[in-house]
């Protein structure tokens, strides 16, 4: 076909499109007959396009029969709405129509005059905006993202009425062709960061993108690390706040979770509530979270180390009591702790998928079986139950859920190390972890900023949360000093 032919609308366009889509049941083809001229075909997928909007457009065409805004002069006599200018389109008509229809647009084909019009009537099935279940707060907005990227963008735009707010659209995923948006504030985000993000997104070669995690695994700095270098959120206010700090956000169509980068270790302990409450309580709660992190990771291993290697650490009365509890218990302390941790994980997993009706019964069974019966049967000692419960509860204190998985992985490694070499093993593990954290980078920002490369102004929001007049208002903070190539 010659070049001109590429812009040529084939006469059997409708049939080609139908065949391409595989004669789906939701494909609607309407023939519009006007009082003059040949009939027009109107095609759309009724699951993706809003039928009412389509009807409305068509009604307007029939009743008004006059020019709509922005119509080219030659359409005057036909009274149609705008057409797509040919120069912006290169490629295959069939492909283009199919893509548009899959997005939810309605196409009106005029085979005789070889013209195609696109009506934007996109309105897929969607859910109401509601607060995300995993990021609830007491005081503050209760809106959350939904699976519709247009709605999400509007939620963000509502909060950042800034002309510098940029959204760059990409389509990632060969099979799913998911729309992905890169969002940033042009006057605040460093150029190098934006370019780096763009480069990484464009370099993704994958078949499908269904959730933000798919993108995260391609874009993250280090694959084999238990620590996430991007955070995710379902709250538009969090996203807006992070954009104001100069970060970039990645929104994915079909998923309410948005990715944010770069992120430091200390930001996983920040919750939006820190900023919606007063500074003193925010500081206190932040410390609780840090202590919970250390508890969740280190307490079982310290228990194993103290009871099997360094019994002199335990005060005398407690030692007698623990000794008494261990009389008759068949398993060594390490095995007990591992067993109880695994059982706790199983209960947690089961609880996630348990139908609500049975959930109550399961929690009772779990408590009684694990708590009372196992101890009384002499399978485990009572102290282990306490240790595991404390660990399990503190595991969920961290605001970002994905960080909880990090804690679990670390906890198991430390338990094994403690069982192997006591406090020396825990020390080696801690040093290894510290060495790993210290050299981990998230989009060029060292992971432990502002503690490790010490940035004094960043201290205002790490271990304490200073009142707002003292905080760094322009955002950026450590981003300002990061060098991008």
């Amino acid at each position: 076909m010659s070049r001109n032919d590429r812009h040529h609308v084939p006469p059997d366009l409708i049939q080609l499109v139908q065949r391409q889509l595989g004669f789906p049941p939701d494909l609607v083809i309407r023939t519009l007959q006007f009082w003059e001229g040949p009939p027009l075909q109107c095609m759309y997928l009724d699951t993706m396009a809003d039928e009412n909007a389509v009807d409305h457009y068509i009604q307007n065409m029939l009743s008004e029969g006059k020019l709509m805004e922005g119509a080219p002069a030659e359409a005057e006599e036909h009274g149609y709405i705008r057409e797509l200018p040919f120069s912006s389109f290169h490629g295959d008509w069939v492909r283009h129509l199919v893509d548009a229809m899959l997005e939810g647009q309605c196409v009106i084909v005029d085979t005789n005059n070889e013209r195609v019009c696109f009506l934007n009537a996109v309105s897929p099935i969607d859910r109401q905006t509601e607060e995300p279940k995993s990021e609830t707060i007491v005081r503050g907005p209760h809106e959350g993202f939904t699976e519709n990227i247009q709605a999400n963008i509007s939620l963000v735009r509502k909060r950042l009425k800034n002309p510098c707010l940029r959204f760059e659209k990409m389509q990632i995923g060969k099979q799913t062709r998911t729309t992905v948006m890169l969002a940033y504030l042009e006057n605040l985000a460093p150029d190098g960061l934006v370019q780096e993000a763009r480069r990484r997104l464009k370099a993704i070669r994958t078949e499908s993108v269904l959730e933000s995690a798919y993108i995260e695994e391609y874009v993250q700095d280090r694959t084999w690390s238990p620590f996430a270098t991007l955070t995710n959120t379902e709250r538009p206010d969090v996203l807006a706040a992070q954009l104001l700090e100069g970060k970039i956000a990645i929104l994915i169509d079909g998923s309410p979770g948005a990715l944010l980068a770069p992120v430091t270790f200390w930001e996983f302990f920040n919750s939006p509530e820190d900023y919606y409450q007063r500074a003193d309580i925010a500081t206190f709660i932040r410390w609780i979270r840090l202590i919970s992190f250390f508890t969740a990771v280190f307490v079982p291993s310290l228990y194993v180390a103290a009871t099997t290697f360094h019994q002199e650490l335990i005060p005398p009365r407690l030692l007698i009591s623990l000794s008494a509890q261990r009389e008759g218990v068949p398993f060594p302390a390490l095995f007990e702790v591992l067993l109880m941790e695994v059982v706790f994980e199983i209960i947690r997993e089961a609880g996630l998928r348990m139908p609500r009706a049975i959930g109550q019964a399961l929690s009772i069974v779990g408590a009684i079986v694990l708590g009372q019966a196992a101890v009384e049967a002499g399978l485990i000692s009572a102290a282990i139950v306490i240790v595991v419960s404390i660990t399990g509860i503190t595991n969920f204190v961290v605001p970002v859920y994905s960080f909880g998985t990090t804690q679990r992985l670390l906890r198991f490694s430390f338990i094994l190390l403690a069982g192997f070499m006591g406090l020396f093993g825990v020390l080696c593990g801690t040093l290894f972890l510290a060495a790993h954290l210290v050299t981990l980078k998230s989009f060029g920002v060292p992971y432990l900023t502002p503690i490790s490369p010490t940035r004094k102004h960043g201290w205002k929001d790490v271990l304490v949360r200073l009142p707002r007049p003292h905080l760094d208002q322009t955002g950026l903070g450590y981003l300002r000093k990061t060098k991008y190539k």
Binding site: L313, H436, V438, T439
Partner: protein
Amino acid sequence: MISRWQFTLLINNFLLGTTLFVSIQALIQQTQQHAWIIPLWNGCLGLIVSVLWILLMRAHPGKTLAQILQEVWSRPVGTAIALLYFFHFSSIAGWVLHNMSDFMNGTIMRDTPKSVFHIMFLIVACYTVAQGAEGVARLNQLVTPFLFLPFWFVLLLAATINWNWERFLPVYPNEGWSSLFGNFAMLGYPFMETIALTMLYPYVKRSPGRAMVWGIGMAAVSISAILFMIIGLMGVERASRLTFPVYTVVQEVDIGETIVNVQSIISVVLLILIFIKLQVLIYGAHNILQQMFRPKTQWPHLLALTILVSALAVSIYENGVQNGEFIKQYLNLYFSFYGFFLPSLLLLSTWLKNAYRRRNHGNQRRGR
């Protein structure tokens, strides 16, 4: 790139390293109540020697010790001497590991074979060294508060219970001050070992010389303060006889009756100091290899270094008695060779070369 404060902390922790475990008993035995003056005095001498190194590094900006050797003394001779330094650092690393495993075997974990301690520490050290100088310095900066705060907290707590100023009074009042200034027990070890930090010198962002001086000063004051505390808490009679006075001091602390026997925690915390010393030495050795042979991948060298150092660690000395003898009689001389003699030769050669070059340049300009 390392910041100035990170470099200072690194030098401080490096010098404190195994000193707290090895030298205290012998020093108190020799100098009794005035043992706390010796680190300050030897620290001053160490500072003077460090000025030598700073001059050397300033004469070759941006280059590490191995590169300077190759530049000043031609590639084959420079490589040979660099290899000497490589073995020097490796043997000190092995020595440090053996000190550590001696301590662990003698106090809290008595049955574990020594090699297990060595290899575990070496694995972590090699992982950190593979991340580069930044990793080494940042790790040190991160762990330093967790190191000093518990240790000093426990020491000060012990001081509120146990302090006795009378322990500083000399038993026999006629003692000569000259004997103190003739005591160089601490000069070779640890102050001469700081040559290993010249491998990290070029990576410091600003004024590394000043950072080095500060670091050595801080370390001397810290060691002196710790010795002071030990004498005040335990008295000379016991401190000069116990193998690990720091361990025993900490053993006797109890807070209420709940937090007892914290010696396991504190000794594990102090092991971090040993780890940092080991890390710097491994980094030095590894970097010498990198700069001499410029390999494409790091991990074969690191693996070989691990095997070499763990073998050295097991065989470097037989027992504490031999170690003590060596330190008393030969150490200062041995370390001064690497820490003083070779660098001063290097500096001299640099100056001569520069003078020669300037003269030649002058001759050329005059059109000869």
